[in-house]
Symmetry: D2
């Protein structure tokens, strides 16, 4: 993989930091229901990780006035790659902010935060505290038994620009949704050897579409929905369960108490070979979004989480030109 000279060597999508408006309610959702392990908590924040994760957190929830994405974070291979990230985004003329260890997110070392070309607040870091191994602590696994953060899915008005930006960061592309003239409706891009670390959904952006969380088997996805039904809280279920055409994963979409969307996701495939080819779905194939042809829910296409800038103010959004949800195919689309 040949990277542009100054691009940082990204290892994987590492964590997301979300502002939530009612922390105890969020704790119920993410800890009790989804089964995240609480690595640290205080009156205004929660640091969470899945059962397979060996670093300090993959999700930070902070009490705030507005439900929003504070930042996405990627882990890079070496401390030097943090410097590379700083230089890379500075040269692009974008807002960049160095965050020394101890001044940023708990557990994370020296970091740099930027607003990327798509308008997203993104952190790059190398150092992060280790955490006790819980992989085999089955006695502690609860609810959805979430194993690890798998990916970010972001809304952006300009999918080709998103694709170009992440390509410049050295990401490979596993799958796309394309029109008849190969106009790009969506793309799935990876650094680690799975289908994606980040994917792009067309729509007003920058907004966070969802966080993807991996479980080991499909019965854990079903159990998540069953618990919500049991509690008569089935309104937290937005879409699914179903099988994605793209990625082949079995999915369930939930909305947390603030409306942040989360995907419980299981079973994609290996992408680590150097010549791994992009698999291209035509936007008229109604299996692309649901392999079984079930219709997509309108809110799933239309709603998303606002994002903040480096000073904590809400970023304005730009509308998209190309609207996948307007493509009417079988049961799918909202045309």
């Amino acid at each position: 993989m040949s990277l542009a000279r100054s691009a940082p060597d990204v290892v994987r999508s590492a964590y997301a930091q979300l502002a939530v408006t009612d922390l105890p309610k969020s704790r119920w959702f993410w800890v009790d229901l989804l089964g995240f392990h609480v690595q640290y908590e205080d009156a205004t924040s929660l640091y969470l990780r899945g059962t397979d994760e060996l670093t300090h957190h993959s999700l930070v929830l902070r009490q705030g006035p507005l439900a929003a994405l504070e930042h996405l974070a990627y882990r890079v291979r070496t401390p030097l790659d943090v410097d590379r990230a700083e230089k890379f985004f500075t040269e692009l003329g974008l807002p960049v902010c160095r965050v020394p260890a101890g001044q940023g997110t708990r557990g994370v070392g020296d970091a740099v935060r930027v607003v990327d070309p798509l308008g997203f607040p993104v952190e790059f870091f190398h150092e992060i505290d280790r955490a006790e191994r819980l992989i085999q602590r089955y006695d502690l696994h609860r609810g959805a038994q979430v194993a690890r953060l798998d990916h970010f899915n972001i809304c952006t008005a300009d999918i080709p620009a998103a694709y170009a930006h992440y390509t410049s960061l050295g990401f490979g592309c596993s799958e796309t949704i394309e029109g008849d003239e190969h106009e790009l409706y969506a793309a799935w891009m990876y650094r680690k050897q799975t289908v994606h670390d980040v994917a792009f959904t067309g729509g007003a952006g920058p907004r966070l579409h969802h966080l993807g969380l991996a479980t080991h088997e499909s019965h854990q996805v079903l159990r998540t929905a069953d618990i919500l039904g049991a509690l008569h809280e089935e309104r937290y279920i937005e879409r699914g369960p179903g099988r994605h055409g793209v990625s082949n994963a079995f999915y369930l979409y939930l909305r947390d108490p603030d409306g942040h969307r989360v995907e419980i996701y299981t079973s994609d495939y290996y992408t680590g070979d150097p010549d791994h080819e992009t698999y291209r779905w035509n936007v008229h194939d109604d299996r692309r979004r649901d392999f079984w042809g079930n219709a997509v829910i309108e809110s799933w296409y239309k709603e998303a989480t606002p994002v903040l800038d480096l000073d904590g103010r809400q970023q304005p959004t730009i509308d998209a030109n190309l609207d996948e949800s307007a493509v009417h195919v079988g049961a799918d689309g909202l045309g």
Copy 2:
């Protein structure tokens, strides 16, 4: 259990006989996809059973000019109960026809066929040929790996009348859907020790809503949908997968090449205790039809299979007064 004096002692829902318009296509659907075992076949008929079934068939498909239900069949406890059935329906003044062994459905002994008070063609029989045990022939299990027929679901315009008729035949009632004044929207009734042998869906009737087929585990239900997606035949999937509120079963609804509806169904509960109580769902609980609150598909409420009379002519239907699909609850209902 106190039965009306002349009621036959019904053991269970035993088989359905369907007319199909393209037998080879039906064979693909029921045998290759669902995994039914072919017990007998000739140019115009297929006799099928699930992997756990020890009698000759639980489904008969016959080539015919019109896709329709020829009859439902219940097994009764003794040969004498066939006589009881004859007397029971004769006394009700309904069409009754004795079918000696060898003149009716292959594999079935002496039987009686009636048009029941709801307008359905129904057979009662005791004797049926045994078949080789395939329960542990995992090497032969294919596709959905259907284990056995579980139940019939029928559309009728008058749910209380259906309830009264099956009560008079000694059926227990496991669950209902009821309005605020206990008006009956739907009921699930059983003789064997599961949630049902027969259930009633409100709507124009007599029509067959679906056949319910049991599998052992939920992954077999998911695989059925996956195979259809793989073949780009996802249009055969009508609804689901999902968890029913009523019955607690995990379900997937398919339509066969003629539009006959089939439910792949797994995991309900034991109902064999003598004082087993009816569990009553309010029609405004959006979990009754899908425990996860997913909307019901319109065709699922509206479409069904016509039924024939004892002479093979299509029965006319009567419209329902009470329409569950008009009750708008959350995502559910079609109001």
Copy 3:
């Protein structure tokens, strides 16, 4: 099914009452690990039921000086069948004791307790308190997520006598293990429509071999073992997981803190047809005890729980003539 005139109409195996020597440790095992719901508890007893059970309990644990079976209990169809049971065992010249409601086991109405011809303390009752429906309370399902008591397995020195006794009580026989001359090594007998309510293992008796508890799917069986490994309490696992040849169920055998054996059991088949045939395994088929040919553990054949008489004294045991564990077949047997 023709019953001897005075035989009570047994509905199903209903509950077991065990003496345990350390109630808090037993509570950890049966409640925290296996997921039984506590219906009632006090300083010296625990009344437990599975998630699908609608009656007061299926297991009673009582603090006692000796780990033992106090009694097995069968539910009968009507109050009259309690009288029939009293008469049936009295006529056999066996110890019989009437236990009026309120004087016996909590939640159970009028009952009769007997020592049966095999030396087992057995209760027959009809009335039992109802309990809140937890079938769909997925939020409360824990550990093994045990759904219901499925069966008793008892050790007896004389299998043909056990078979004859339960036949006289109207039980059907689903499966047997037999020698080349049809000498009976083991049998599985039922009243409800599953493979068994009671089974017999050859060996010194009367002793309780195990209680069989049903779960819905195989992943719940695996999770039970995983939790024990996680706690480094894997010594509670005695045998399995595996697939039984007999019954076709997926199994895991545990020993509770007192050594009482419990089987986590999933997925057998329907036996409710009036002419259901016995399936006969030859003792030389090494798949009979484990369908995958894995060897049986010696303790599984040799160890079992002592039983008490109606006065709470330990019953003496008689050794068996025929020893299945001495039949050496492939990996199986202990010859």
Copy 4:
């Protein structure tokens, strides 16, 4: 990851080439039972791949006079890495053989074959033909539904030497089994982001212990065993199913018709972080080999496949000093 200067950049364990003595019997085992897809076959060879594999093969079976390992093969990142491999092993003074495209294994480009310091025949290649994507061809998935080759497990007399060699090739170490003085009994090493591409079992070597094949979920592992039981071919099952302590995978060990061992393996964890730490098991923890404490089968420790040299002659073996199977722990060990 800092590599020794001349080490090739290995991507992953890529394929194994085995000599088998009865190709039709092997075809039944690997294709019909395990579900490998046949990419190419002729009278004396079979080229196979799993459902998720996008390259020409991950297993080659060739008819031969002796059941043996012909070679293991690793894919390297670039064509230049093939040259690096040649130089690396030449500098070590080991047998090295360049195999131009078209002269070696079908589908594979320019390659180099070596005998490594442990005595194993190993191929390094970069180019390999692509193959049609079958990931979502659920209609073609059969038997065990094997998704992909996961790892090689090799027997060697000198575990520290094996560890040192693979470390020099840039492999990370996910887990070990160690004695009280940290003497190394076994190690699991990786290049791709899973628990391993290669592992070492102490014993006479060089021999191939097993090939590890990944499936997506545990029910597919159980189905494999069920099919063997159904065919009364349960003798092909050697050990399991069980949960490994090491790797946390759910496993089943089979022996093919020639005795080549194969592991059906599902669900380990991500190891791609740059500072991923080795997890060390003490040899006295009886959960290391089976997390549930089930005993290891003697043949599993003792038997393995002989390996050939570059001229196709059987390599002699050297006995091990340290014998893990002699460590008696609980049910484990064979002491």
